[in-house]
Symmetry: C2
Subunit: 296 residues, 2 copies
């Protein structure tokens, strides 16, 4: 199968590596608006060749769109207009309702599968691409009833080949949930980074004291702004609600600390400790999957 | 040297393991108000024996106080009243101004060293203790001019034996800085955990979508409330300022997302990306230290 990857950064590049390695792609064509990234992808051996978008799309059996969500929303209708009848188009963006709405009445809607593989690192660009990034992670496919069966099967095979768990959701539910378990934590990390960098201007030795807890909590503040600004824009409504809920709890902490109300602080943190169940669940899910893979 | 460890949890227990392993302690006596923890510490082999506090303190050359900061503030003056003339007392608490103020005029102030080894995990209790926890991390010694030279040297040797980098600070500067690079990130994690657990009540499948970024950012929400409530209480003033600065930036994000102001969102996140310099610095410091250790 000839696979064209539009956007050969962390996500597109990592995908290209493993699709070639597993033989899912017999040929992998790279497209990138950033000429330097395109050349890097070629030199790093992520793709077999680099072509202009139109040519690359016309040659493909499968087109993977792995670019920021604002550009994806503009480009996907164009790509659908260019492809052959059998060609499947899949996107990897972190917001889904907007793109599903945008292509809803496109004559080739059935060729398109809206998806979101939940994998990544805080790094970006072709040099950040790595084999195994998707293995044992979850991917969401949205509004599957709007895709043709053949398109859906191709994308399912793609994700199974990468070792991913597939879940199906409505686009609107996806956007709501992901606001809480991904977009919100990016904002809180960016904010933590900014807060500490601001105080550093007066207290230069402050980072002598930063430990592993700080590093872990602030890690996402390294993420690419050009990727995240469009995501925040497209998921503004759900994210605003999540931020409001978050700020309300934060104000509660501030109030209780100000009042020295240790009993209520204890109760609040005891409730928060319940997150252990969730984190253990994530771990368990991952272990079970490994087991299944080994048995199969 | 006979070392008595008061509080044989994550910190005290990990310390005991390595002090015995390196031979710094010829004997290690454990004390714990929680009888079950004391017995666990004995069974796990963290300490050689468990004794009542008074007896254990009187036998010790070095007393390590590794209990929540509210109980430490009550106990340390009592311990100083019990020790032999040569005995050194060191604490491990995450707030320093209060305890320094509390013992300032104690006749045995010179025997006491106020310190804060910046190491830990989100787990607690004797079973969470592990060898190597302190290796290659930073420890802060506060108001060293208030300690006798012999006491200071004993504590320096203790931390060098554990492989720690020693820094010296005024207690008030310590408490200010640690509010930003440790206490604040614990509050933001607890708050993130609570926010997502609240929405989970209506959206049960939400955690299907949680990835490694969420897990990393929320990890500290697993921390022990009984340890953290007293820390927040004792560092209330600096922490309130840190929270205010944090909430202000968070409100800014919320406002820009609400307005769809992508240009200002990009600028804000670009500023936050500067945290890369800090995180790389933490990594570099750690690598340099490894190099020095190997050369020496």
């Amino acid at each position: 199968m000839i696979v064209t990857v539009i956007g050969v950064g962390l996500i597109g590049g990592s995908l290209a590596i493993d699709l070639r390695k597993t033989g899912f792609a017999t040929e992998c064509i790279g497209v990138d608006a950033n000429e330097q990234h395109a050349q890097q992808a070629l030199q790093l051996g992520l793709v077999d060749q680099v072509l202009p978008m139109e040519e690359a799309v016309k040659k493909a059996d499968l087109v993977v769109v792995a670019i920021p969500v604002d550009r994806a929303r503009q480009l996907i209708p164009v790509v659908l207009g260019l492809i052959a009848k059998h060609t499947v188009v899949v996107d990897m963006g972190s917001t889904k309702a907007g793109i599903c709405e945008r292509v809803k009445h496109h004559e080739k809607r059935g060729n398109f599968v809206a998806s979101h593989p939940i994998a990544g690192t805080e790094n970006n660009g072709p040099e950040a691409a790595l084999s195994g990034l998707f293995n044992n992670k979850t991917t969401i496919i949205c509004n599957k009833e709007e895709s043709h069966l053949q398109a859906l099967e191709t994308v399912q095979q793609l994700y199974e080949k990468l070792g991913m768990h597939i879940r199906y959701m409505e686009a609107s539910a996806h956007d709501l949930h992901i606001a809480y378990v991904s977009h919100l934590s990016h904002i809180t990390s960016f904010t933590l980074g900014l807060t500490v960098l601001n105080i550093e201007q007066n207290e230069q030795r402050i980072f002598d004291m930063a430990g592993s807890g700080f590093a872990s909590t602030v890690r996402l503040a390294k993420s690419a702004p050009t990727m995240w600004a469009p995501i925040f824009e497209q998921n503004a409504e759900h994210l605003s609600e999540a931020l409001e809920a978050y700020i309300e709890i934060l104000q509660r902490f501030k109030q209780l600390i100000g009042m020295g109300d240790k009993a209520r602080l204890l109760a609040l943190m005891n409730d928060a400790n319940d997150i252990r169940r969730i984190l253990d669940g994530i771990q368990l899910k991952s272990n079970n999957f490994n087991l299944e893979t080994r048995v199969a």
